[in-house]
């Protein structure tokens, strides 16, 4: 592993240790069942991770992955169209700008009426949160390219496919990844919220259920897993970004 990766790993470990120390101190001061000592939470986590939590974690990951994939499938071509063809942008930009600022969570009641309270509405919710970010990132990524970037390809009679492959795709990747990273944080919190009803599975359900059962250790174990999921997703995004955007 290169030195820089070690450094990153070390700073993450230091951060985790710091948080645990703060947590432990707060627990020691407060002496309340609602703030248990971290080691007790991790003990519980170890004993119920496989048997009780993993199925919920898988459900949440599936919903995020499905929403993300849908958002990329729809958002990337849309952003491409808007970024590359000014006419498409003139047509679509007003629609995007008018719908983008609507808090997606406010649409949840409508969504649940239309798509039911089950899987579909949860996945569509995540899709809605991510898709706008993707559209705008790709569109602006292309719009920010100087015209001269295309000239050496155009003068060789490059096809649209070649222009995409050699210029547009690589040029939009950094902004694309950043957009996904930003949207992911919102997506996870909204997922938590949507999982508190209409399902028996998912980290949101697990945490709220533990809370209602007044089982604080389970609840904390769930929170730790949810945080770890977020970290994992960021890690995956970072990995792909550093792999595919090595030139930066």
């Amino acid at each position: 592993m290169p030195i820089s990766s070690w450094r990153v790993l070390r700073s993450y470990l230091l951060g985790a240790v710091f948080l645990l120390v703060v947590w432990s101190a707060v627990a020691a001061v407060m002496q309340l069942p609602i703030v248990p000592q971290p080691w007790r939470v991790f003990e519980r986590l170890a004993s119920i991770m496989v048997s009780a939590i993993s199925i919920h974690a898988l459900y949440s990951i599936w919903r995020i992955a499905a929403g993300l994939v849908l958002a990329v499938i729809v958002g990337y071509p849309l952003g491409l169209l808007m970024g590359y063809f000014p006419r498409a942008d003139r047509l679509l930009a007003p629609i995007v700008y008018l719908t983008y600022p609507i808090p997606k969570i406010a649409l949840l009641p409508i969504l649940m009426l239309l798509a039911g309270v089950g899987e579909l509405s949860k996945i569509i919710m995540i899709f809605l949160i991510i898709v706008f970010q993707v559209v705008i990132a790709v569109r602006d990524g292309i719009g920010g390219l100087p015209r001269e970037t295309y000239y050496p390809l155009y003068s060789l009679g490059a096809s649209l496919g070649q222009v995409f492959r050699y210029i547009i795709f690589p040029a939009t990747l950094p902004k694309f990844f950043t957009a996904i990273r930003v949207a992911m944080a919102t997506a996870i919190s909204v997922l938590f919220f949507t999982e508190t009803f209409g399902t028996q599975y998912g980290m949101g359900y697990f945490i709220m259920d533990a809370w209602l059962r007044v089982n604080y250790l389970d609840m904390y174990a769930g929170i730790v897993v949810l945080s770890a999921m977020g970290l994992l997703l960021f890690g995956i995004i970072d990995f792909f970004q550093s792999r595919l955007c090595r030139w930066q």
Binding site: E148, T149, Y151, P152, L153, Y154, S155, L156, G157, Y166
Partner: protein
């Protein structure tokens, strides 16, 4: 002129007739190029020189087929500009490297676009000649300006285009690197004499490289004078008396003084 057996080789490489370009600027039209006539013979280097804003880059874009928004005709080898059929190497002022491709991929880019097999031996020889051996895996931002310029040249000379267009190729370089690059360019050019149209701000560069020098006047851009340069490619003549004389003449012309 003695007749050539081949029709197309008798045609000038570039023939521009009556080229006029107007841009719309803040609700009124601005004529940037005004009735330009220009021919460049096969296998020649032609330099365009003129005041800033006189439309040199605009002209280059028209020849490269990057714009068709003009009046008049531009023909390459006697036929309308068609980037799909021809291969036109276009080097913008920033060298046209793709920041996300490493040196090797940037050099091979033109061949890949043209779906030509990459001659690996030639590629390696070019990289070697241009002092880029060992830099194949680097990205453009990890290179100096001069090195980026050489990558751009390697790309063009690997492709061997029908036509090479360069917009102020050496302007961003310091004086010493610029001279070095001019020598490198000439050496590569002498191997296969690709017809070249280049824009420059430097009188000395035009005199050193180009058989034909076209002097533009500004607003609207017009051809002021076409000069046949006997000193092109002559390293020994550089800085000599005749060279200096021509350079002075060109300088005067560019300053807008009346020439005899």
């Amino acid at each position: 002129m003695k007749p050539e057996p081949n029709m197309s080789s008798r045609e000038p490489a570039i023939r521009i007739n009556d080229l006029t370009v107007t841009y719309e600027e803040a609700h009124h039209l601005v004529k940037v190029l005004d009735h330009i006539d220009l021919t460049v013979e096969q296998g020649q280097i032609c330099a365009l020189i003129g005041p800033s804003g006189c439309g040199k880059s605009t002209l280059l874009r028209a020849v490269a087929g990057l714009t068709h928004d003009y009046e008049g005709t531009v023909a390459i080898n006697g036929e309308p500009v068609d980037p799909h059929r021809l291969s036109i190497g276009f080097m913008p002022q920033n060298y046209g490297l793709l920041p996300w491709k490493n040196v090797r991929d940037n050099v091979e880019l033109a061949c890949r676009i043209k779906k030509q097999p990459v001659a690996q031996e030639k590629r390696d020889r070019l990289l070697n000649d241009l002092g880029l051996a060992g830099f194949e895996q680097r990205y453009p931002r990890e290179l100096s300006g001069g090195q980026q310029q050489r990558v751009g040249l390697a790309r063009e000379f690997l492709l061997e285009p029908d036509l090479l267009l360069m917009d102020e190729p050496f302007s961003a370089l310091d004086a010493i690197t610029r001279e070095e690059m001019q020598n490198i360019f000439l050496r590569l050019w002498q191997e296969n004499s690709v017809t070249t149209l280049l824009v420059t701000h430097y009188v000395e560069e035009a005199l050193y490289l180009a058989q034909t020098i076209v002097v533009f006047s500004a607003s609207p851009g017009q051809v002021r004078r076409v000069i046949v340069n006997p000193l092109a490619g002559d390293r020994a003549a550089r800085g000599g008396q005749q060279f200096q004389q021509l350079a002075n003449q060109l300088h005067d012309m560019l300053r807008g003084e009346v020439e005899h």
